[in-house]
């Protein structure tokens, strides 16, 4: 029967033999050749069972009901479990266990023999740091939980088990700190996860899209990270992490807007430079969102606001360009996004060559050919580079920039004000698992400011928190 379900698969191995338990019994084991350690099966299952004369002494009186008890004394594998249904056996085999069937018994045993090949722990590509641990999560959920556990050696750190995906049966772990995390939050995450029934969960992004508060907003209301240290940090703040097998990206809820502007390294650096960098990121956010829109509104509506000398320079260069300013911005904007996307997807060595060709040669040539003006190229370069500083808000920045740009093209500075107001009131309306997304700026809490606009020295942190309350 098991053969019927699994037999056509080339990676499933059936091996029958005579087990020596008070005389020979017909037995067979079944396992997935790619997921198990062959040596382990040989060492821990076949060898103890097949050696004649070895077992009578250890299992003197084996009745049918005490199969598992008897065998657990014979087998020296690390974990042995009894299974009763074919369905269960199938799942166990597919996830890398070895199933042992004995003639005349109505149950089988699932023996831990997993030894999956996996990528070694390496430095995460998305969140590179200068100072800080260089390990990142891998695709193995067991390894990922171990990485977190190694950071927080505390029984209060809880990993709860879940399985999602009717087809993929993906393993999910819910991690939180008991006593720090709000029980309501944990319950909320659990209900949301149990309410969804996806067919497949191939990456944590599947879950993210199914459980987020606002599916239609451009703002990310669920955070993710590849770094055990930043996940540990968030867990200690009382957040809940959702680990998903098969991806190094761990989800963290609730996620606040300001967190997109922080990296874990801010806490490892000395406070002066850390605060400077945080300030720099806020400036970059404003620059990358507003520069194109301001340029358009100033040059096409409010020339009076530009200092006269600068105005004449800009006017002289814009004169040679055949397009209206707004079209010019859109053209270069699209070109920039093209180069960026191409740079990501290209194989690494070609990528850098691409960037040089794209940025230097095309930019320079376009200016000389009179297709775009030089101030425009500078302005888009500022926009683009500032955007790279805050990778977590990549899509947000892109869409708000376009939105403001269009409004600025139509209504000038007034359009920018209106656009900003719409964006601000939209962010204000967002929530992440019941917490206001813009917290701690609005609703304002002085306590939260430690992590928002500044990073106060760790020595003073405790004092500050006490006062903040």
């Amino acid at each position: 029967m098991l053969q019927e379900r699994l037999g056509i698969n080339d990676d499933i191995v059936f091996r029958s033999f005579d087990a020596q338990i008070i005389g020979p019994i017909r037995a067979f084991i079944c396992y997935n050749s790619g997921l198990v350690g062959q040596a382990m099966i040989h060492e821990h299952i076949l060898k103890p069972l097949m050696e004649v004369g070895n077992n009578e002494r250890r299992a003197p009186d084996t009745s049918i009901n005490q199969l598992s008890l008897a065998l657990s004394q014979i087998l020296n594998a690390s974990s042995v479990r009894e299974i009763r249904t074919i369905e269960e056996a199938t799942n166990e085999i597919l996830s890398g266990q070895t199933a042992l069937f004995l003639d005349g018994f109505d149950s089988a045993l699932s023996i831990e023999t997993r030894d999956v090949e996996h990528r070694p722990i390496s430095e995460p590509a998305t969140e590179a740091v200068v100072r800080g641990p260089r390990e990142g999560f891998t695709e193995m959920i067991e390894l990922n939980t171990a990485l977190i556990r190694r950071k927080i050696t505390n029984p209060d750190l809880v990993f709860e088990k879940m399985t999602l995906g009717s087809k993929t049966k993906t393993k999910i772990r819910l991690a939180y700190m008991k006593g720090i995390a709000d029980p309501d939050l944990v319950a909320e995450v659990k209900t949301r996860l149990s309410r969804i029934s996806p067919n497949s969960v191939l990456e944590s992004g599947y879950l993210e899209q199914l459980i987020e508060d606002h599916p239609f907003t451009i703002f990310p209301t669920i955070g993710n990270s590849e770094r055990p240290d930043s996940v540990a940090m968030k867990l200690l703040e009382g957040k809940v992490a959702i680990l998903c097998d098969g991806t190094p990206f761990v989800l963290i809820v609730p996620h606040f807007f300001v967190e997109s502007l922080h990296v874990s390294e801010d806490y490892y650096m000395r406070p002066y430079i850390a605060n400077f960098v945080i300030l720099l990121r806020y400036i970059a956010l404003l620059l990358t969102v507003y520069t194109p829109a301001l340029y358009v509104s100033l040059t096409s509506y409010h020339q009076g606001m530009i200092p006269t000398i600068l105005l004449t320079t800009i006017a002289a260069t814009e004169e040679r360009v055949p397009f209206p300013v707004i079209l010019e911005v859109i053209l270069i904007g699209v070109a920039f996004e093209l180069i960026r996307e191409a740079g990501i997807r290209m194989p690494r060595p070609i990528g850098s060559a691409m960037t040089i060709v794209g940025a230097l040669i095309i930019g320079e040539a376009a200016v000389q050919a009179g297709l775009v003006s030089a101030p425009m190229v500078i302005n888009m370069a500022v926009t683009g580079i500032s955007g790279i500083l805050i990778p977590a808000l990549n899509s947000v920045v892109l869409f708000t920039r376009i939105f403001l740009l269009l409004l600025a093209g139509g209504l000038g500075f007034y359009g920018i004000l209106i656009g900003s107001l719409i964006i601000v009131s939209h962010i204000c309306s967002l929530q992440s698992f019941g917490y206001p997304y813009l917290s701690p700026i609005a609703p304002f809490r002085s306590k939260g400011w430690n992590n928002t606009f500044m990073r106060i020295p760790i020595r003073l942190k405790k004092k500050w928190l006490r006062q903040g309350r």
Binding site: P307, G412, L421, S425, Y435, P436, P443
Partner: protein
């Protein structure tokens, strides 16, 4: 990290809402300029009188915690008297919102987009505000909390630059009280009404705030706003002189345009436009949302979004159809209609309700005493 109830106003939110509402559209006027160089004295005196009114408003909230103005009117005056009164309040704040809205549109038209028709400017603004208010009170409060620091920084920058630029002359303020108190006192009542009496609109909002925070927060923010307005008047007068200050359409704009520091910091009108935008926005939105609160109570409406949209279209229509040019609105129509009603709205009715509440309490206390004996 903590969960925050979205229907409550925190202290900071209340503070920023009141401050923004108070300063709101005062950036457009020279307050109490009838008293010439003593305009700032007018503002200070008016603030003190305003505190009296504010005390009454907050005392009403203290006496009936958790009840909005509409509910208070209902329980104190009875259903038949309260309904038309609530409607009257709704109409009044509707008109006030229309005025703010109209002024705002005119100023943007004058200073930013002279080629764009006012209809376009106003409709865009109306739709934006409708969107914001449709998201609820929490969004209005959080937005104000977020934008108030920007507003304040810009205002302080403007004042600071005006002071250090070369047009600033303290002698313009002299002589202080040259004609005695008479002209000052004559100006005080209008200034009490606008902007200080207007805090009456918060009678609709007290119920969302924490009871024990209302009074301290209200006094603090009104005092703060009053001082800023006073500082604004002083700067306007010292830079422009009383004569020009009285006749300019937008006195503060003239001040800002006169700023020139080393040929680098010039053309700062953008700062003022942002201030007018934020101030006008909240002045109007808070009036607007009060109308929505009153109307949804009156019509027992469960879906507030519908009321928001209807009111918003109403404001757009009324201000486009019935309000005329900016100077006319300010000097003629405004005086005819609005100044006569304020006294009822801001002073008589709240005072009456307050007296009734006090009497009620006494009667209740007396009855309890009787019951006990």
């Amino acid at each position: 990290m903590e969960r925050i109830q979205t229907t409550r106003l925190t202290k900071t939110q209340l503070l920023s809402m009141i401050t923004l509402y108070e300063i709101g559209s005062t950036t457009l006027f020279a307050m109490g300029i009838g008293a010439k160089q003593d305009a700032w004295v007018v503002v200070l005196l008016a603030m003190l009188v305003g505190f009296l009114l504010l005390w009454v408003y907050t005392d009403i909230a203290r006496r009936m915690p958790g009840a909005g103005w509409e509910e208070i009117l209902d329980s104190v005056l009875g259903k038949w008297l309260a309904a038309p009164l609530i409607f009257f309040y709704a109409c009044y704040f509707f008109y006030d919102a229309c005025l703010n809205f109209f002024e705002f549109g005119e100023i943007i038209h004058l200073h930013l987009l002279s080629n764009t028709p006012t209809l376009v400017i106003n409709s865009v603004f109306a739709v934006t505000v409708m969107y914001m208010l449709a998201l609820g009170l929490a969004v209005l409060a959080r937005t104000s909390e977020l934008l108030m620091p920007i507003f304040l920084v810009f205002l302080l920058f403007t004042l600071f630059f005006a002071v250090i630029s070369r047009h600033f002359e303290v002698s313009q303020l002299l002589p202080v009280l040259s004609d005695g108190m008479a002209p000052v006192l004559k100006e005080v009542p209008t200034t009490v009404t606008f902007p200080f009496g207007e805090t009456a609109v918060f009678l609709f909002y007290w119920k969302y705030a924490e009871r024990n925070q209302i009074r301290s927060t209200a006094f603090r923010s009104v005092g703060f706003a009053g001082l800023l307005i006073t500082a604004m008047q002083i700067v306007i007068i010292t830079v422009l002189g009383p004569g020009l200050a009285a006749n300019a359409t937008l006195p503060l704009m003239e001040v800002v345009l006169s700023i020139n520091i080393g040929e680098i910091l010039t053309n700062l009108d953008v700062l003022l436009v942002v201030m007018i935008f934020i101030g006008g926005l909240f002045k109007m939105s808070i009036n607007y949302f009060a109308v929505v609160l009153a109307l949804s109570y009156l019509f027992r409406a469960t879906n507030r979004v519908v009321i928001v949209i209807i009111t918003g279209i109403g404001i757009l229509w009324y201000s486009m159809a019935h309000l005329e040019t900016l100077p006319r609105q300010r000097w003629i129509a405004g005086k005819e209609l609005i100044w006569q009603m304020d006294h009822y709205i801001y002073q008589l009715i709240p005072l009456l309700v307050w007296i009734l509440l006090v009497l009620n309490k006494k009667r209740m206390a007396g009855r309890e005493a009787e019951g006990a004996s």
